[in-house]
Amino acid sequence: MTQSNGFKVIGTRPVRHDGVDKVTGRALYGADVRLNGQLYGAMLRSPHAHARIVAIDTSEAAAVPGVKAIVTGADLPHVGDQIADIGEGAVNLRHLSANILAGRKALYFGHAIAAVAATSLTAAQQAVNKIKVTWEELPPVLNLRDAMAAGAAPLHPDVFTDELGEKSTTPSNIAEHLRHEKGDIAAGFAEAEVVVEREFVTGTVHQGYIEPHSATVQWNADGQLTVYCSTQGAFGVRREMSEILGVPISHVKVVPTEIGGGFGGKLNVYLEPVCALLSRKAGGRPVKMTMSRADVLAATGPTSASIVRVKLGARRDGTLTAAQAWMAFEAGAFPGSPVGSAAGVILAPYDIPNVVIDGFDVLCNKPKANAYRAPGGTNAAYAAESMIDELARALKMGPIEIRLKNAAREGTRRADGPVFPRIGFVETLEALLHHPHFQSRLERATGSRRRGRGIAAGFWFNWGGTSSASAQVNPDGTVALSEGSTDIGGTRTSIAMQLAESIGIPVNLVKPQVVDTDSVGYNDATGGSRTTFATGMVAYELGQKLREELIAHAARQFEVEAAAVRFEDGAFRTDGKPPLSYFDVCGALRDTGGEIVASVSMRTKGEGPAFGAHLVDVEVDIETGKVKILRYTAAQDVGRAIYPPFVEGQIQGGVAQGVGWALNEEYLYDKAGHMLNAGFLDYRMPTALDLPMIEALIVEVPNPRHPYGVRGVGEVPIVPPAGAVANAIFDALGVRMTELPMSPARNIAALAAAGVAA
C-alpha cells in the first residue's frame, strides 16, 4: 500500500534483517572468530609517552612454552614516504606503518612495540612480560601550546609545516596550516556594530565504541592472506594491508564481521598487520588478537583536543558582517587531525560575507588522532555556536531568530568557496521554533539548582564515495543482495528497503548480506554518513535493472513485447491477458530466459549537505557543579528517512556522544604523558541513567540528487550538543564555559572565578 510519502517501503518500519541474530547472540563479531590451529596474540605497549628504543631483547620471551612467533617494528617492510588518501585525508604510509609497530621511537603511551603469538593467551601475555626493551626517555610534548611554541622540540625530524604544498625550511610540530578566505575581513569588521571574541579549549576524547578492536589473520604458504576483523571498511583494510605489508592487493581477502560501533575509529588498521606478521612467522597458523579496553583507549583513534578562537561581527539588526576563526587541532603522534573538515564546518550554517579561517594540524605525544563522527565538527561548533549565542545576547535577539536571520540557504557561498545546493537549514530551525519544547516555558529551580536552555546548530558535508552491490532473483521470489558496506546503524535494512522500493516488492523478500572483499565490487567505508545515500543509490539502480529483467521475463510468458508489460502492485500486467503474479514470474525464470543476476558499481555524486539544530534544558547544581540534562530535542534535515527508527537512533546516539563530550569525557595524562583513565570507570561516558529520552525531530527536505532524497544522518547529530549544552549552562548561570568537558570540577572553578556563590 502506498503511504502518504508516496512510497510503499520507504518510511516504513519492518523487522530488521539482522534482528534475530543480534538479539539471540548468534551474530559474529570480531572476537567471536575461531579458526582451526588458531594462535593467540598479545602486544607489548610503550610505558613512555616519548622514548627512543635502544634495543629489544626477545630471547626470554621466545623461551616461554607455547610461544610460536614474536615480531617487532623491524619485521615491517620499509614502505618509504608515500602519500595516500586513506581515511580522513592524506596519510603518509610510513607513518601509518610506524603507528602499527614503533620503529626507532615510541611516540605515545600505549604505542605498540612488539607482539607475541602463542598457543594460549596466557602464554602470549607471559612472553610479552619477558620482552626487555632498553629505553632512552625523551621529554614528551603533551599539549598544543607546548607543541606550537617557538623552539619546541619536533617529534619528527622529517615533518615540515605544509602550506598547500609549500614546506617550511625547518622541522616543526605544526604539520599543516590551511586557510579559507571570503570577502574582505577588515571591511567586514569595520562595518560591524557589535563584535564578540573568545577562545575555547576542548579535551581529547574517544569514539567509545562498545566492541574493542579484534583481528584474526591467516597468512597461507601460498601468499594469500585472509583477514577477519571488525571494521568500517573491509576494502580500506585490504588496501592498508597491501601497502603496509608490501603484498599485492589480490593476495588479501578481508572478511568483515559484525561491528559493535566504530564512529570513525575503525577506519584504519591497528592489529591486522601485526597478526599477519605473526601468522607468517608461525608457519601460517591463524593469529587472533583482541584489544583490552585499556588498549583501545590508550592506543586507538581518539579525536583531537583543540583550541578554537572565534570572532564575530554583526550590525545592530543581527546581520553578520564578518567572522574570523583560528583553530589548532592535536594530530597525535603522526600528522592528520580533522582540522580540515573543522575549518569547513565551523561557520557553514551562516551566510557571512567576510570570513577568514586558519587551521593548524599539530603533532604531540598522544595516540594518532582518528576520525570521530563529523570529525572536528563538535570542537568547531562548540566555539562558533557559543559565540552566536553571545552575539544574540548582546543584540537582545532570540537564539533561533539570529540563526534564521543569517541562515545559509540554497545559493549561499560557503567560507571555503563552494555554493550550497538545496539545503534544509531554515526548515530545520523553523521545525525547532514551532516545537512544543521551544514553545514551553522552562520552570526555574530553587536552592542551589539553576536551570537554563540552550540552542546550537551544526552542519556536515556528507560524503558519496564508491559503492557496489550485486543481487540475484531466486525462484521463490526472494532477492539475495550482496553488499560490501559494513552494516552500521541498520544499513543492511535501509539498503534492502531501497532495493525493494526500486523493484516494487515487499522488503521481507530481500535477503541482504555483507560479504568479503572477493565477493563484491569495491566499496568505500561505512563512514561520512554515506552508506544509506551511496549504497542506497546503487540499490536503486540495481532494483531498476532487476525490474527491467523481470518485466522482460514476464513479457516472454505473455508472448508480448516488454514495452507492453507493466509491473504494478505485485503483478505483471498486459492488455487483454490475465495478470501474472510476481511469484509466478520468478518461479518460471528458467523457462523464460534464465536466471536474473545484476551488479552495479557507482562513484556517486550529489551528496546532500545536512544541518541540525538542537535545543536542551539543563539543571546545574552550583554546590557540586553537576549538570543534569532535563530535556533534549534534536531537529535535523535528513533528506528522506528511509527507516525512521534508525534515523532517530542515529540522532539520539550522536546526541548522547556529544553530551558525553560536553560534560564528562576527557583523556587525562600525568606530566610524563601516562594516560590515567584508560577504562570506562574513569573515562566517563554517559549511560541511560544520565540522559532523558532524546526527542529526534526528523525534517525532510529531499536531496534532489538522490532517487529517494537521502542526505545522510550519522554525522550531524554530534556537532551541536557541546555548544547547545554550553549555551544552556550560560543561560542557567550567566557564566560562559570555555573548556570541554564542562565537568563538575571545571564548573565549580568557573563559578568561583565569576564570583557566583553557592
Binding site: 602519500i83 595516500a84 588518501d85 581515511g87 580522513e88 585525508g89 592524506a90 596519510v91 602550506e163 598547500l164 604544498g165 609549500e166 596550516h177 590551511l178 586557510r179 579559507h180 578566505e181 569514539q207 566504530g262 564512529f263 570513525g264 575509529g265 577506519l267 580540515g340 573538515s341 575549518a343 569547513g344 564546518v345 582518528n370 576520525a371 570521530y372 563522527r373 563529523a374 570529525p375 571555503d416 568557496g417 563552494p418 555554493v419 550550497f420 545546493p421 556536515w460 558535508f461 556528507n462 560524503w463 558519496g464 564515495g465 564508491t466 563512514g527 561520512g528 554518513s529 554515506r530 562513484r603 556517486t604 555524486k605 550529489g606 551528496e607 540528487r705 550519522g714 554525522e715
Partner: protein, 87 residues
C-alpha cells in the same frame, strides 16, 4: 571559460588573484592552463599526476569523482578544498 577559485595559500603565486577564468574541459586541463599563466601553481595541487592527497575538487558545488579527469563545463565553478569524509 571556467571560474577557478584560487586557494588562499596559493594566491601568492597568482599575484593575489582570487579567481581566474581558464579554458579547459577537465580539471587537469584547467591546471595546465593555470600553470601556463602562473608557474609553480600546479605542483601545489598535483602529486604524481593525481590530485594532491587530502584535497577535494568541487565542481559546481559537487565533489568531482574523477580527479584530474573530472569534466568541467564552460561556465563551471571550481574549488580546491580539504577533503572531508567523516567518521
Amino acid at each position: 571559460m571556467a571560474r577557478v577559485f584560487i586557494p588562499p595559500l596559493l594566491r601568492a603565486r597568482t599575484g593575489g588573484l582570487r579567481e581566474i577564468e581558464l579554458e579547459g574541459a577537465t580539471i587537469g586541463a584547467l591546471l595546465l592552463a593555470l600553470e601556463a599563466g602562473f608557474p609553480g601553481t600546479r605542483e601545489r595541487l598535483v602529486l604524481n599526476e593525481r590530485l594532491m592527497p587530502g584535497m577535494a575538487v568541487i565542481v559546481d558545488g559537487e565533489a568531482a569523482v574523477d580527479g584530474l579527469k573530472s569534466a568541467v563545463g564552460p561556465a563551471s565553478e571550481v574549488h580546491f578544498v580539504p577533503a572531508a569524509r567523516g567518521g
